[in-house]
């Protein structure tokens, strides 16, 4: 039996693979430039593949992967029936509302929000009883308020440099974000003898 990992492409995957290698797993075929899709370790007990982050919960929920490593932002945006077993505390950042320092958010009036995270933005403003028009943007979200597309943005903020360079500031913090290890609900039970040690070693690495 093989334990399959679905990793979100990008920073998180890099750190997760480093963690796996630190745990003693050897992936001979893996290099950052490799075009292979699935990598198996030399003992043949662990396999991982790289996918776009919103797909990680889907793969794990459906059981195509036993374990997934993905940011909390994705789990909030695309809720899935999975066990969220470990907070890996890597890829830490904050989900924030950002805009212009001298222009307070127009609460009580119609507010236009540009974001990659429509569900998170909607839930946040709904909880404040604020009606919002959400504009889903797939990249360079900071552009939206600069050219007058939206009043503010909802996005993850790590260092705040991109915001600063574009004259934007964090106006409100929504929540903390970090990478989570998620596990398929059936795999945790039916492959327990294999998954438990992996979780435990990850836990001790933290």
């Amino acid at each position: 039996m093989v334990i399959r990992f679905a990793l979100a492409k990008g920073r998180v995957a890099k750190k997760a693979i480093e963690l796996l290698i630190a745990l003693g797993y050897i992936f001979e075929e893996y290099s950052e430039k490799s075009r292979k899709l699935i990598f198996t370790d030399t003992t043949g007990t662990i396999e991982f593949f790289l996918v776009k982050s919103p797909d990680v919960p889907t793969y794990v929920e459906k059981g195509a992967a036993d374990i997934g490593i993905v940011g909390k932002d994705v789990l909030l945006e695309h809720p899935a029936q999975v066990y969220e077993l470990l907070n890996l505390n890597i890829g830490r950042c904050k989900m924030c509302v950002a805009g212009f320092e001298d222009r307070p958010l127009p609460y009580g009036k119609k507010m236009v929000v540009g974001t990659k995270y429509p569900t998170i933005a909607k839930n946040y403003f709904n909880a404040k009883n604020q009606l919002v028009d959400i504009i889903k943007i797939n990249g360079s979200v900071e552009l939206a308020p600069l050219i007058g597309l939206s009043d503010c943005i909802v996005d993850i903020v790590e260092s705040g440099n991109t915001l600063k360079e574009n004259g934007l500031v964090v106006l409100e913090e929504i929540c903390d974000i970090s990478s989570r290890m998620i596990v398929n609900q059936v795999s945790l039970k039916t492959k327990r003898e294999l998954i438990d040690p992996i979780i435990r070693t990850f836990e001790t690495q933290l």
């Binding site: 459906k62 059981g63 195509a64 066990y83 969220e84 596990v183 609900q185 059936v186 039970k189 039916t190």
Partner: protein, 418 residues
């Protein structure tokens, strides 16, 4: 031309799958019948009122429509509630034991993700009027047997009890918001967020330690029972431990205990279970295929207080698994296809009727072009994979074998040979 006429979440069932589905349903209804369950059926529509106060099914997940009287109806989103109502209406004596089995489609208007199935083919049982561990054991046992009988060997049942957490939260006098948040975290086994959430709460360190252990209360039954015993804060919690230990003993007697493990992290956040609940899994199959439990307060809604326990199987998920593992019962019966000439019509129909009377699948077609063309068109049609082709022309019968026409005295078939 009608294009784009498929609806997300709804599927056709192809003939091979339908054949398997029917065989499986037959096998299971026979199994339930042998245990004394009576097959029943309830309407496809229910009144919206039935589900309004039911937290277990969010109103947004219901397919609603309005009838000519202005009454709001829903497409049946669940089988248990209507079956419970039926038992309450037709069997007003609360002490009666009633065992019902059903096979039905249920409908959920899930908003996301798009590909999720909204029409779910279920088969299940409901056992009313018995609150004993033997009843729970029988229900869980039948859930396991339902899969075993169909050749699915890697069955795994996770048994929990919502009371353990509920009695604990009652003892700690948690607010409904706190309960809801904790339920959610426990369901997701999200220990880290539980710890963060508990930190500012005004609870003893001991209580917090117990709550943090709840998500890890799963696995080998005897080990879990031992761990649970150390966490009991009151008699009710101890009662839960005793009860599931008893059910486990019962399953040992039935010889099915090896399929069962425990998970006390199930909550009744999204269902009406009051007591034990369980999920059935198949190894290497990512989603649960069985869901069940005890719902002792549901019948009271219909004026008859009556304990009950049951489960439902998601049949199409089981079929998907069986297909992958080549476990599906296949339709291998041969068809006899008879082509006849214009003058041989009545002889062909007589011949066909004789064959059908013996249980043979028989079809007749008139010869309309050359024989070779007919042979090819049948051979190319996947629906006629098992077909035997005959020609009846000018009173002479012949069979097509390896592209040769061999004359026959009469059509013979396996059941006759044996």
């Amino acid at each position: 031309m009608l294009l784009n006429s498929t609806i997300d979440g709804f599927e056709n069932i192809q003939h091979q799958d339908y054949y398997s589905l029917e065989k499986i349903i037959n096998k299971l209804t026979t199994l339930y019948r042998l245990y004394g369950y009576h097959q029943i059926s309830t309407p496809t529509f229910e009144t919206y009122d039935l589900y309004v106060g039911e937290d277990s099914i969010p109103s947004d997940d219901l397919f609603k429509l309005v009838n000519h009287q202005g009454k709001v109806l829903v497409l049946k989103p669940d089988a248990t509630l209507p079956v419970t109502r039926m038992a309450a209406m037709n069997h007003p004596n609360a002490d009666e034991v009633i065992k019902f089995a059903y096979q039905t489609n249920i409908y959920r208007n899930f908003s996301s993700p798009e590909m999720i199935k909204k029409e779910i083919t279920q088969i299940g049982i409901e056992y009313f009027g018995n609150d004993s561990p033997e009843c729970d054991g029988e229900v869980i046992g039948l859930a396991i047997l339902s899969l075993l009988e169909n050749g699915v060997k890697d069955v795994h049942i996770d048994l929990g009890h919502v009371g353990f957490i509920n009695y604990l939260f009652e003892e700690l006098a948690l607010s409904s918001f706190e309960r809801e948040m904790l339920f959610q975290y426990i369901e997701n086994k999200n220990i880290d967020d539980i710890a963060c959430f508990l930190k500012p709460l005004d609870l003893s360190a001991e209580a917090k330690a117990i709550i943090i252990k709840l998500p890890s209360l799963y696995g080998e039954p005897k080990a879990v029972l031992k761990e649970m015993k150390t966490l009991c804060l009151n008699e009710n919690m101890a009662g839960v431990v005793e009860k599931i230990a008893e059910i486990y003993c019962h399953l040992e007697v039935m010889g099915l205990a090896s399929y069962v493990s425990f998970d006390l992290g199930f909550t009744n956040q999204m269902n009406y279970y009051t007591d034990i609940n369980f999920k059935g899994y198949i190894n290497n199959w990512g989603e649960p295929v069985i869901s069940g439990g005890r719902y002792n307060n549901l019948s009271e809604k219909f004026g008859i207080p009556r304990p009950a326990c049951g489960f439902a199987i998601d049949l199409m998920k089981v079929i998907d698994y069986m297909e992958q593992e080549n476990l599906l019962p296949m339709d291998t019966q041969k068809n006899h296809v008879i082509f006849y000439g214009y003058d041989d019509k009545s002889a062909a129909y007589d011949l066909a009727n004789n064959l059908r009377a013996k249980g043979e699948i028989t079809e007749v077609f008139m010869i309309k072009s050359d024989w070779g063309y007919h042979v090819i068109s049948i051979r190319e049609n996947p629906l006629y994979k098992n077909a035997e082709i005959y020609f009846l022309s000018q009173g002479k019968l012949c069979i097509v074998e390896n592209d040769q026409y061999i004359s026959l005295e009469a059509i013979t078939f396996e059941s006759e040979v044996n």
